[in-house]
Symmetry: C2
Subunit: 454 residues, 2 copies
């Protein structure tokens, strides 16, 4: 018994472009056929359930390539502050008293927020614990994710055990919906030896789990200007060039490397990223909000680097909204370069779908609506006053559509969101449990005044 | 019989700050009392209808200080193009065949879009005709607006008649909900003599309608870099300084002047704007999308210039979303200046409310929730997964809340939107009529291929 999405404007993100009055036939977790509704129907006269997409845009599920799901407990906890003060006085102290249950409940809320906004796959980096964790949260919500345990030099031994436990327990489970990654925090918090060790762990794990799926190496890179100085100061490394050159000298840049941010790059570093096949996760909202700057994305694209989009955590955003992120990504570079033709809607939509899938080394199964790929598909209602008329589905999705226009979400062939209601989670119970955890966290921190509202 | 909004977190935008478990008592079109719910109830034990705002944020209606309402027919009609080509090949040809009915229906759709997103007052500049126009559209939707007829040198005589007819027919009508303005298009399309004439018309009209309400002088200013060159070339003016200096030399800068954009300013021009009391309408999304650049808003604010926010038309946005505009306004300057502490959420929220009211010379009645002011109030649902937890209502409204979270909208004491449904317009009929007009417009333009979708 298959599922036939019929009558919508199918934005395939493949060479088939947009198919109006299109149809997508799904069997199990896979897309079987894509084409004009009439053709698909003629070839498949029966044997499926129908999902009416008349007047809707049908799009691959969006892919968020950089997030920290669990941090939703701290959404808006501290804003408009200088980065150092924000981290040292606000974020790190409160994170240090978060429990593994907090991580789980925070991640679950973000997974729900994400899928309600049309995002079917998230790549998340956070502290892993075997009992309660982000993978468990994503698995329960029914979406797809790459989950990494964030590594720091100061807890090396613990990290290495946790990475192995994470991989054993979660890599490739839930019909392949969950993958794991190896996540050194950043070049200035992971010493050179440990960085190389983590790269080798990545290669070993890829060897071990070769038949399951690739395991990527996810790292914050060149987010702020002071990283080179920090590496010199903290690790005593004699650095001449930039931080990309430094990582390249360690041999940790390759097709499995996903570098988040890449705001402060020398021109020659862009060439290195391109030649090594490193992927970039562009998080424009977070980079602006933290005052980090603006990543040279148009140059990265020219150089041939694959760039996906990320929201980053809701501490520095404060939303997991991929539609908003698309609009920021499309507009900010136009404004700064005073060129309205760069970062076209088409390129940005690729970044949120197929290029996001490439960033996660998952494009053989995700990122476009094509036969053989996983059935991760969203239906967008484009008939409300703010979204009419429609001339081009592509520019509409980037510039006019809101994440609240996502009506139906299918992940792995299963309808997770229908008519804007999530079917896998009792939202009211989740919200109640989440707010309880938040209140307890504030109590532990002696910040009861923060509990008053919401 | 009054209306009591009870139990919400009232963000007054006055010196009273945020009142939790607050209440707002409305009688007729005015706010009568604001305070803690218990206090207001004690002083007013009965005689009103109740509107439960428990768990909601109660905020003054947002004020959009720069728009062209009618252009919704062209939402997404042409994107990602160089400005000159966009205007000359796409926008102007199609606008030249728009009828006055098109203007009316386009404006009506945008008024609905706006109010559903929490915007209760819009300032709009477009072509006025006596029968069908933007004022009529706003009046019917039940919101509030400042409506101007856009003036060009080439149609001087016609313009002057239309300005007078607009003022006679619409200024101060609908219980004062509609105001008119005098709108020279820009310094490079209105010659110096005509500019001065329009300023004098503004002063005359203010004299004539002194007892009704102020009439502002709304102009595009310093949107692109080439304005000085254009003025030199087109009008043969011997210009040394910038375009602000030029307008100042004509004597048309004052407290009634609202300058949209102000992207390209010399430092001394910022001082002129401040000393003349000119107000600025900052439209960050449009400025980025058209590749115009980024307005030096932090400098304008430092200099003491009052800055409101605008979306600009949906041709260059492609949305009338004031929440999105707040987020862009808060973030873009942080990123460019690499300083997360500038453009605080509080300042940006002021820009969208009380400073917007000031920009329209309407702050004695709008922009904050205070006794005596007009009852333009919105209720925002901040309890959905993407909007919890809440630590600060202020940063929440700017960084996390979506315009689709606006649940109830009150304008002039009347509930216009309830539970996200507009009560003054039959949305389905409007959408149908709007799409018919769009299709006819495309047919007249010989662009039937543009009709296919939406």
């Amino acid at each position: 018994m298959g599922l036939l999405i019929c009558g919508g404007n199918v934005v395939t993100m493949s060479e088939k472009g947009v198919i109006r009055d299109g149809a997508v036939l799904i069997e199990g977790d896979r897309i079987i056929e894509v084409g004009k509704y009439d053709d698909v129907k003629r070839r498949n006269p029966r044997g499926y359930e129908k999902l009416n997409a008349k007047g809707k845009i049908v799009l691959p599920g969006l892919i968020n390539t950089h997030h920290h799901l669990a941090m939703s407990l701290l959404r808006g906890y501290a804003d408009d502050m200088p980065l150092k003060e924000w981290l040292e006085k606000k974020i790190w102290p409160i994170e240090s008293i978060m429990t593994s249950e907090d991580v789980y409940i925070g991640a679950k809320l973000t997974a729900v927020e994400s899928v309600l906004g049309g995002c079917t796959t998230v790549n998340t980096m956070y502290h892993y614990t075997p009992e309660f964790n982000e993978a468990k949260a994503i698995a329960e919500v029914g979406t797809r994710g790459v989950v990494g345990h964030v590594c720091f030099s100061w807890r090396k031994n613990e990290d290495l055990k946790l990475i192995k436990s994470l991989a054993e327990k979660w890599h490739g489970v839930e019909n392949g919906r969950i993958r794991v990654s190896v996540d050194p925090h950043a070049p200035y918090t992971v010493d050179p030896n440990y960085m190389v060790e983590l790269w080798n762990v990545t290669l070993d794990l890829n060897e071990k789990y070769r038949e399951k799926a690739p395991i990527i190496f996810h790292i914050h890179l060149a987010e702020t200007m002071d990283e080179v100085d920090k590496i010199r100061r903290i690790f005593g490394v004699n650095l001449n060039g930039g931080v990309v050159e430094y990582l390249d000298s360690l041999g940790v840049l390759g097709r499995l490397t996903l570098a988040a941010h890449c705001v402060h790059l020398l021109e020659k570093e862009i060439a290195i990223l391109a030649s090594r096949g490193v992927k970039v996760a562009h998080s424009p909202v977070s980079n602006l909000k933290l005052g980090s700057g603006v990543s040279p994305v148009p140059r990265l694209l020219e150089a041939g680097v694959n760039v996906g989009l990320g929201t980053d955590s809701v501490c520095s955003n404060n939303s997991s909204d991929m539609f908003e992120t698309m609009k920021f990504a499309a507009l900010i570079h136009k404004g700064i370069h005073m060129n309205p033709s760069i970062m076209s809607a088409w390129k940005v939509l690729q970044m949120a779908t197929i290029d996001g899938a490439k960033a996660l080394n998952w494009d053989y199964e995700l990122g476009s609506i094509e036969p053989g790929k996983k059935a991760d598909i969203i239906l967008v209602d484009a008939q409300k006053p703010h979204a009419i008329p429609m001339y081009s589905e592509i520019s509409h999705l980037v510039y006019a559509v809101k994440n609240s226009d996502v009506e139906t979400v299918i992940v792995d062939g299963r309808i997770i969101v229908e008519n804007r209601e999530i079917k896998t989670v009792k939202t009211e119970e989740l919200v109640e449990e989440f707010l309880k955890s938040r209140n307890k966290l504030m109590e532990r921190a002696g910040l009861t005044s923060h509990i008053a509202c919401g």
